[in-house]
Symmetry: C2
Subunit: 650 residues, 2 copies
C-alpha cells in the first residue's frame, strides 16, 4: 500500500511515474513537523533495522550514522564521510512491522539514523516542500517491489555490457587503446569494453574527439568492433566556453545554459577550463543536449559514461575573485590575513555550496536556484541522453551509467559508485552498496575494481575482481598517477584470466537474473535479511549477498586471508571455480563454516534444490557458446532462464 503526502509546494522531480492520489494529513507513523523546515522523527526499537539510501556509506543496515543527501564530488570515501555522489532518499524501517518512506526532495536532506541518539531517527530538510511516500507491506522485499512499481522500470543495459571492461584515466592515444586490447587478446584475458576517460576529447570538449590522437576515429571504432570491443567514451557535465565550439555557441544562442541571477551565464572551471552548465532541468535544453550524443553514436559508439555531473566545480568566477583578493592581501602583508587563510580559501574553492546558490535553472519558465534542486543534475544529464537514445537508437540498447544520480535516473542508466580507492575496505563497501542500490531501482551498478585512487596490489585486484564477477557493471578503473593495474601488469596472468573468465562462464545466469530483476521490479542483489528474515544471524550478516533465487556470494575482502567465514542459513552447495578452470563442489550443512579460497579462485554457494547455467570460458560476450551451457548445482533442479528471446525453463 503506497500513500502519498504533500508538504508545501514540492518541486516535480519526476522520480515517481505512477499517479497516486494524495492523502490528507501526515503518515500515521512517527512525528512529522513543518516548523523550521521539515522533519520526520521516529523511535527505533532495539532490533529495528533501517535499509535503503542506495549509494551511501557504511553498512546495509544504516543504523548508527548520519547520511546527508547532497551529491558531492569528494573522492575520499573514508568511514566518516556523510555524502557521496548520489541522493537516494528511500528507506525501509524493518522490525516487527515493515514500512518504507521515500522523501522526494531535490535539495539537501539529512538522515540521522540513531547517530545523535541511538534509538531515534530523524529525517530533515530546510524547506517543507516535498512529497513523502509511505509504503506498508508484508516484508522488506514487498515494500521494495511496491516502491519500484511507482518509480518505473529500471534501465536494461545491452548484453555486451555484462562482459568485463578495462579503464584508466591516462589512456590518451588510439595506440594506447589498441595496446590495451592487444595485450588482453594475446593473453587471452576476456574483454568486451575499453573506457575512454577525458583525454580522448579535444581540450575536454564534450562530443569532440582529438583528431591528432585519433586521426580516423570511425575507422578505429570499427576496428575495435572487429575485435569485439566496445569503446565507452566519457561525457562531462560542463561545456567549454570557447568561441567557435559549436556546442558552446548553440547553447549560448538558445539560452540553454544555467544563468546567474542577472541573466548572464554562470561560469565554473572544470577539466576544460571555464565552462557553462547545460540546463538539463529545462526540457528543451535537455532535449538539445541529449541529441548531441548522436555525434558519437553516429560514429559507431554505443556506450557512454557521464561524469562530473554533481555538478563538480573546481572554482567559479566569484570564488576565484575572492581567493585572489585574499592572496593579494596576504602578499601585501595584511596582518588580518595569515597564510592559512589563503589555504582555507583555496580549499574552499572546489564544490562550494555558495556556488550552488549562484546559478539558476529555467524550469517551465520559472527560475529555480540550483541549490534547491542540486541533487537532480546528474539524473537529468543522464536522462537527456536516455531520452535522446529512444529517438536516436530506438531498436538498440545503449550502455550508459552516471556518477551522480537521484531516484528516477534508474530508468535511463546505471551508475558506478565513483572515485573509490585501492583499499580492502572498499571491496566490502562495494558489496554493501549493491543491494541498497537495487532497493532504489539502480540495477546496472558496480565499483571501480582494483580501486581508483591510491596504488593497488595484485592480491587486492584479484579479490576485488572475484566480487566484480557478480556485479552487473564489471570494470577495472584507476586514476592517473596510480600504479598501473591492468591484469598484464602483474605476474601469473593466468590467475586473472581465470577469475575474469568466471564472469563469462556465469553471464548466461547473471544476465538472466538481471533481466528478471528489471522486468519484475525485483532485486538482483538481496541482503540475507530479505531472504531469511526470521534467522537472526542471517539478518545480521552484511558481508554475504543473495543473487536471484539461486545463489549466495561471500567474497574474500581481507589481505593475506586464506579464506573467510560464511554463514549458511540453509544447506547449500559450495562451488569454487578453481585456478585450473575446474570446479570444486561440496554440499555444506546449514550453519557457520570457514571456507578456504585461494587468490585465483571464485567462490559461490548454490541454494538447496537449485541449479544455475554455467557456460565454458569465452573471451567476449558474443563468444559465449550457448551449446556449452550446462547446469551446475543440485541434481534434477531446473532454472527459469530469461534471455533476449524470452523465458524458458532449463
Amino acid at each position: 500500500m503506497v500513500k502519498k503526502f504533500v508538504y508545501g509546494t514540492p518541486f516535480e522531480t519526476e522520480a515517481v511515474v505512477k499517479e497516486i492520489p494524495s492523502s490528507e494529513g501526515n503518515p500515521d507513523y512517527g512525528t512529522f513537523s513543518t516548523e523550521n523546515g521539515f522533519s520526520f522523527t521516529t523511535k527505533l526499537a532495539d532490533d529495528d533495522m533501517v535499509f535503503g539510501l542506495g549509494e551511501a556509506n557504511r553498512g546495509i543496515n544504516k543504523r548508527g550514522f548520519l547520511y546527508i543527501s547532497d551529491c558531492a564530488d569528494d573522492p575520499n570515501h573514508v568511514e566518516s564521510k556523510t555524502s557521496l555522489y548520489a541522493a537516494h532518499n528511500f528507506i525501509i524501517i524493518s522490525g516487527k512491522t515493515h514500512v518504507g518512506f521515500f522523501f522526494d526532495y531535490p535539495g539537501t536532506l539529512r538522515f540521522d539514523i540513531g547517530y545523535t541518539t541511538s534509538d531515534t531517527m530523524t529525517v530533515s530538510c530546510e524547506n517543507a516542500d516535498l512529497y513523502v511516500y509511505m509504503i506498508t507491506g508484508d516484508s522488506d522485499l514487498d515494500i521494495v517491489k511496491q516502491f519500484r512499481g511507482i518509480i518505473g522500470r529500471s534501465y536494461i543495459a545491452p548484453k555486451f555490457a555484462f562482459g568485463y571492461g578495462q579503464s584508466r584515466w591516462g589512456y590518451k592515444t588510439e595506440d594506447d587503446f589498441r595496446t590495451v586490447v592487444k595485450k588482453y587478446r594475446e593473453n587471452h584475458v576476456p574483454l568486451d569494453m575499453v573506457y575512454m576517460d577525458i583525454d580522448y576529447m579535444q581540450d575536454y570538449k564534450d562530443f569532440t574527439v582529438n583528431e591528432e590522437r585519433f586521426p580516423d576515429f570511425e575507422g578505429f571504432v570499427q576496428d575495435m568492433k572487429k575485435e569485439k570491443i566496445h569503446l565507452v567514451p566519457i561525457i562531462d557535465a560542463g561545456v567549454k566556453v570557447e568561441e567557435g565550439y559549436d556546442i558552446y555557441e548553440e547553447g549560448c544562442e538558445k539560452g540553454y545554459f544555467c544563468r546567474r541571477e542577472d541573466g548572464s551565464y554562470f561560469e565554473a572551471t572544470v577539466w576544460p577550463g571555464w565552462t557553462h552548465f547545460p540546463d538539463v532541468l529545462n526540457a528543451d535544453a535537455r532535449k538539445w543536449f541529449g541529441d548531441k550524443y548522436d555525434v558519437l553514436v553516429s560514429k559507431g559508439i554505443d556506450a557512454f559514461w557521464n561524469d562530473m555531473n554533481e555538478p563538480s566545480i573546481f572554482y567559479s568566477q566569484e570564488g576565484l575573485a575572492d581567493f585572489k583578493e585574499t592572496a593579494k592581501k596576504y602578499a601585501e602583508g595584511d596582518p588580518e590575513v595569515p597564510h592559512y587563510m589563503v589555504g582555507g580559501k583555496l580549499q574552499a574553492l572546489a564544490n562550494n555550496h555558495e556556488d550552488y546558490k549562484r546559478f539558476y535553472h529555467n524550469v517551465n519558465g520559472e527560475q529555480v536556484r540550483h541549490d534547491k534542486v542540486h541533487n537532480l543534475f546528474g539524473y537529468n544529464m543522464t536522462r537527456s541522453a536516455g531520452e535522446a537514445f529512444e529517438r536516436i537508437s530506438p531498436d538498440k540498447r545503449i550502455l550508459m551509467f552516471s556518477r551522480s544520480s537521484y531516484i528516477g535516473m534508474h530508468r535511463y542508466g546505471g551508475i558506478w559508485t565513483g572515485d573509490n580507492c585501492s583499499w580492502w575496505s572498499h571491496i566490502l563497501l562495494n558489496l554493501k552498496m549493491m543491494p541498497s542500490l537495487n532497493m532504489c531501482g539502480f540495477l546496472y551498478t558496480g565499483a571501480d575494481l582494483g580501486g581508483f585512487g591510491a596504488n593497488t596490489t595484485r592480491d587486492l585486484l584479484l579479490r576485488w575482481l572475484a566480487l566484480g564477477v557478480f556485479t552487473p557493471l564489471m570494470r577495472n578503473h584507476a586514476a592517473l598517477g596510480t600504479r598501473e593495474q591492468e591484469p598484464y601488469q602483474f605476474e601469473h596472468i593466468e590467475d586473472f584470466r581465470n577469475v575474469i573468465g568466471v564472469r563469462y562462464r556465469l553471464v548466461p545466469y547473471l544476465y538472466s537474473e538481471y533481466m528478471k530483476a528489471a522486468l519484475n521490479d525485483d532485486m538482483y542483489f538481496k541482503p540475507l535479511a530479505f531472504v531469511y528474515p526470521d534467522d537472526k544471524l542471517a539478518r545480521n550478516t552484511e558481508d554475504q549477498l543473495m543473487i536471484g533465487n539461486e545463489i549466495m556470494i561471500a567474497p574474500v575482502y581481507t589481505q593475506n586471508a586464506i579464506g573467510r567465514y560464511v554463514y549458511l542459513p540453509e544447506e547449500m552447495m559450495f562451488v569454487k571455480f578453481l585456478g585450473n578452470g575446474n570446479m570444486f563442489q561440496e554440499v555444506l550443512p546449514k550453519g557457520i563454516h570457514y571456507v578456504e579460497v585461494a587468490l585465483n579462485e571464485v567462490p559461490l554457494f548454490i541454494r538447496k534444490g537449485c541449479a544455475i547455467p554455467v557456460a565454458d570460458f569465452a573471451e567476449s560476450v558474443p563468444d559465449i557458446k550457448e551449446e556449452s551451457i550446462r547446469m551446475v548445482g543440485y541434481e534434477g533442479a531446473s532454472y527459469e532462464r530469461y534471455t533476449d528471446d524470452g523465458v524458458s525453463r532449463i
Copy 2:
C-alpha cells in the same frame, strides 16, 4: 643466535644495548647489496609470513604492501598510507624456517614486502651505513625474545597507568578538568587519569602552566590526587622562541638547539609559533631538556605524554619565504604561477623533507644533518625525560609515552599510536598493531579509544573500549572540533560504567601479565600464529590476540554486528562480562564459533586448563580490593601472579 653485520659507518642509535661482536661478510640469507645505497632482497615462499615493523599500517602479517620507516605527523591513517609516526625496523620471516632482521638505520628505510612482486621482499635505504642484526631461532617467539634481549628491558609504567584515562584536545581551564572528574565520579565510571592537551600551557610553552587558567596549579594537582586522579600533561618537541622565556634563553645560551648549516638556530612553526628544536641527540642538551620535566614533577605531576616529536613542522622560515614569493607572484598575475601552484606550495609547507635537510644535530662534536637521523628524534626526546626521571625520581615510576619512536625508546616509555579516527576499521588496526609493537619492545601501548579525528558514535566508542580494556594504555581521546566523547555524553551511562569497569576487574591479571612480559622479554600480546604455529587457520587469524598464557581476545569491530566469528585453536572457556555485572561462562570446543556480544559486554576466552584472577568493580586502581580477587576459569587451575611485591602462585 644473533649475528651483527656492519655496513659502512653506521650512526650509533643505541637501540641495541648488548655488546655483540661483528661478523664478517653478509648474512647467509637472501642477497645483500651496497651498490646504490643498501638493499636486502629475498624470495618469499607462498606460505611465508612476515611479522614485525611495530607501529605500521595493515595486518599482523605484513606481506603484500610497502612500508616506509619515516616518522611522519600525518593523521589520515587510511589503508594506503606507508608511513606512520614510528620507525621500528625489526622483521621476522616466518615459514619453514624462522629468521629475524633488525636494520639499525636512523634515516628513511623502505620495506617492500611483496608489494612490487608478490614473492619478493626488498629492504632498502639511501646510504649503506647501518648495522644489520640477523637472528635465527626455533620459533617466531624465540626470535622476538632474543631480539628483546639485545635491545634492553622494556619500560614499566606505574600501576595507576593500568587504569583508564580521559583526554580531549579542548579542555582548557582547571574547571574543565574538574568537571570531567566530577562527572566521572558522580556517574561512578572508573577513572585514574585525566590528560592535559596543549591548552594547559602558557602560549604552548613547554614546562609552563597558564596561570590564569590554573591560578594554583599545585593545589589543583593535590586536589586531583585526593580524587585519585593523576594529571598527565603533554610536552611538545618545539621550544617557543620568546625573549624572557627561560627554557628558550637557556637553550640559546648553552647552544642546545638544532642549528642550520651556518650555525644559526633553525626556526620552525609548531603550536607555539616559531620554535627551536632541542638537540636531543646531543647528550648534554638531552640531559638539560630532560631535567626540565622536574618543573612539573616538583609540582606533583607523575605522568607525561610527549607529542609532535617526529618532529612535526607546520612550516620553516625557508618554506614560508618560498610560499610568500609564490603568493606574491600569483597576486601580481604572473602567468607562470597559477592558483593551484599557490595551493601546492601551501600544502608542501608542513612536514616537508626539505626542512629536515636544513638543520643539524651536534653528536659528540660532529654536525649530523637531521634527515640522516630523522627517526631518532622522538626516541631521544623521550629518552631525555626517561634518563632524567632516573635522577629526579629514582624510587617512583613515572608514566610516560610518546608519539614518535624508534626501537630503543621502548626502554624509556610507551607509545600511543597517534592521531587515528573514529572509524570502525581503526579498532581493528589498533588490535593488529599491538603484537607487532610488542615484538619491537613496546609494551605500554594503546590507541585513542573512540577515535581522535572525525565524529564518534556511541556504539563505536563502546566496542573500542571493549578492546581498550586489554591494552596497557587505555585512553579515550578526541580532537578539538569533533563530537564530545566522554561516556557521560551518551545515553545509558551504565553501559560505559560496565565496560570500563571490566578493565578494573582485570587489572590484577593484566598488570601481572605486563610485568611478566617486561621482566622476561616476552610479549604481552601475541598473534595466534606465535602460539599455534602448526594450526593453519590460527596462523592466519588476525582479528584475535593471545594475552599472556591464559587468555585470547576477540573484540567486535563491526557496526551493528550482534557478535562475531571466533576461531578456537583448542577448547576454551568463553567468558562474557555482562551488562549487569555478572559473568557468563561456557566451555566451547576447538573450532569455529559465532558468539553473540552485546554493546555493553566484554568477551574473552580462557585457555583450556587455565584460570585468571578477577577482582570486583572499582572506580580507581588503588580502590581495587585484593580480597575481592577470585579465580575465573577452569576448575583447579592455578596462576602465577606478578605483583610489585614479587611472584606468587594463586
